[in-house]
């Protein structure tokens, strides 16, 4: 049995190394909700499903299993905040639990990396799914001290829900888990055309062909711009990066003039639970640096009055 109300916090690459504010926020939220967050010492890249699985599926599984072993040693389920990390670790974990042949093969190779053996004792979770289903909109209400009044374009990304038969979270054609959750934070989700398409960064495409990646992203931004949200809300630091650098790129190269703040679910929830805006870290980001989360004090008072 894994420890209850405890997570092995899997950082991945982009969050600690580019968007530490998301890390800060996630810790803040989970700890306020009464979870203990354990460090996964010596963890590495998940490794990213698009690139590393493309090169060598076996090695991808081995490196992923190594991370899983670290959490198994901590006796805690893994919490990820990134669709890529979630995709990799959830998939490998599930696959190795089911496939004995591959489990043996991977364990054989794991020995070369150190004292690791995949046991299959833990689960892998994503913060959006923990918040959306485990805490739930009903459970977060007691914890929030600010309600916003913000229109958000929600981007789910691909690997949080797909492949649905492996993730088993929700239909990928019309998910509502994040909308339902953030509604209580005062977020109005605005639907836009082709909302569920990819941001264009995955599968190693961003590294392989920036142009192609930006063409896909440009279309996406056009559709978002059509509905003029206040913020773009994501659940993955890689999508986050794409929305950040992508807007910048389009502004510089395609004559666009976008400045939509890009906010990860953890950042948003942390803010609503009382973390100062300074720690949300918009000042470090490329877009929406001047964005102020609407009238927090007023809402705070209202909340208190109630």
């Amino acid at each position: 049995m894994v420890k209850e109300k405890t997570f092995a916090f899997f950082l991945g690459c982009l969050m600690p190394n580019r968007y530490p504010a998301i890390e800060k926020s996630t810790n803040y939220v989970m700890e306020k909700l009464g979870y203990e967050m354990l460090d996964m010492e010596r963890a590495t890249c998940c490794p990213a499903p698009g690139v590393f699985r493309s090169f060598n599926k076996v090695d991808w599984m081995v490196a992923g299993a190594r991370n899983l072993c670290i959490a198994e040693q901590l006796d805690a389920d893994i919490l990820t905040v990134c669709n890529g990390c979630f995709g990799t670790l959830q998939e490998i974990n599930k696959h190795l639990k089911e496939n004995e042949e591959h489990r043996e093969m991977v364990n054989e190779k794991l020995k070369l990396l150190g004292d690791y053996e995949f046991q299959g004792t833990i689960d892998v979770r994503h913060v959006a799914e923990v918040l959306g289903y485990e805490i739930g909109p009903w459970g977060i209400e007691d914890h929030i001290i600010r309600k916003l009044n913000v229109k958000a374009a929600i981007h789910y990304g691909c690997h949080f829900l797909k492949p649905t038969r492996i993730r088993e979270i929700e239909s990928s054609e019309g998910p509502t888990i994040v909308e339902d959750f953030v509604e209580v934070l005062g977020i109005e989700s605005v639907r836009f055309k082709e909302q569920l398409t990819c941001c264009g960064a995955g599968g190693g495409l961003k590294a392989y062909s920036g142009d192609a990646s930006m063409t896909i992203f440009g279309e996406k931004m056009k559709n978002i711009d059509n509905v003029k949200p206040d913020i773009i809300l994501d659940i993955c630091p890689f999508c986050h990066l794409q929305y950040e650098t992508g807007q910048d790129y389009l502004n510089k190269n395609k004559g666009c003039n976008y400045d939509y703040p890009v906010i990860h679910l953890s950042q948003l929830v942390a803010y609503c639970m009382g973390m100062d805006q300074e720690f949300v870290g918009l000042q470090y980001q490329l877009m929406g640096r001047d964005f102020i989360f609407g009238g927090e004090d007023v809402i705070k008072e209202e909340e208190e009055a109630v």
């Binding site: 950082l11 690459c13 982009l14 600690p16 190394n17 580019r18 530490p20 504010a21 890390e23 800060k24 460090d39 996964m40 010492e41 010596r42 963890a43 590495t44 890249c45 490794p47 990213a48 499903p49 698009g50 690139v51 590393f52 699985r53 493309s54 090169f55 060598n56 599926k57 090695d59 081995v62 490196a63 190779k109 070369l112 990396l113 150190g114 691909c158 690997h159 797909k162 492949p163 649905t164 990928s172 054609e173 398409t197 990819c198 264009g200 960064a201 995955g202 599968g203 190693g204 495409l205 590294a207 392989y208 062909s209 192609a212 063409t215 896909i216 279309e219 720690f279 870290g281 470090y284």
Partner: protein, 188 residues
Amino acid sequence: MSETKEEHREYKTDEDFDRAFFKDIERKTNIWQCIQCGTCTASCESGRWTALKTRSIIRKVCLGDLTVLKDPDIWLCTTCYNCYERCPRDVRPTDVIMELRNYATKLGNISPNHRAVVGYLQKFGHAVPINDEVRKRRVELGLEELPPTAFKFKQEGDDKDLKKFEEHLFDLPPVEDKEEKKEKKEEK
């Protein structure tokens, strides 16, 4: 398959194909069930804007057309899984493309950028390594300057994890001159 021959003729013969080559893919996925309906291409977010035509890639694998391994299009997939979700015959095109990339990598058909990413993983344990600016930000946010990942241990002199990564994982074939030049041309 000789390349010079190909340039001169439109038709192909059995010698141009090697159906046995993709036996492994046949085993792992359902390519032979493909009815060429095009749902995958139509679903493909990349294919709408790029040269990637998922259906025709599947077709080439069915035929045993090895040129697909040199086809840069296979690297345009974003692994969005739309095709995988919607294929009416459960062919799992995303998995097929991943397998193809594995083959292509073995043959050395891998872009310099991707090579670099592998290098980062082996050197830093991360596909995206940390930089000085972010170190500073981390401190400002009240986080530890370095996250407790393998890289931190390397910095502290404990290099065994990443050494082993380099030794045992993602061993890429050496760069061939010709290939590299070609790749570079394409980049431009």
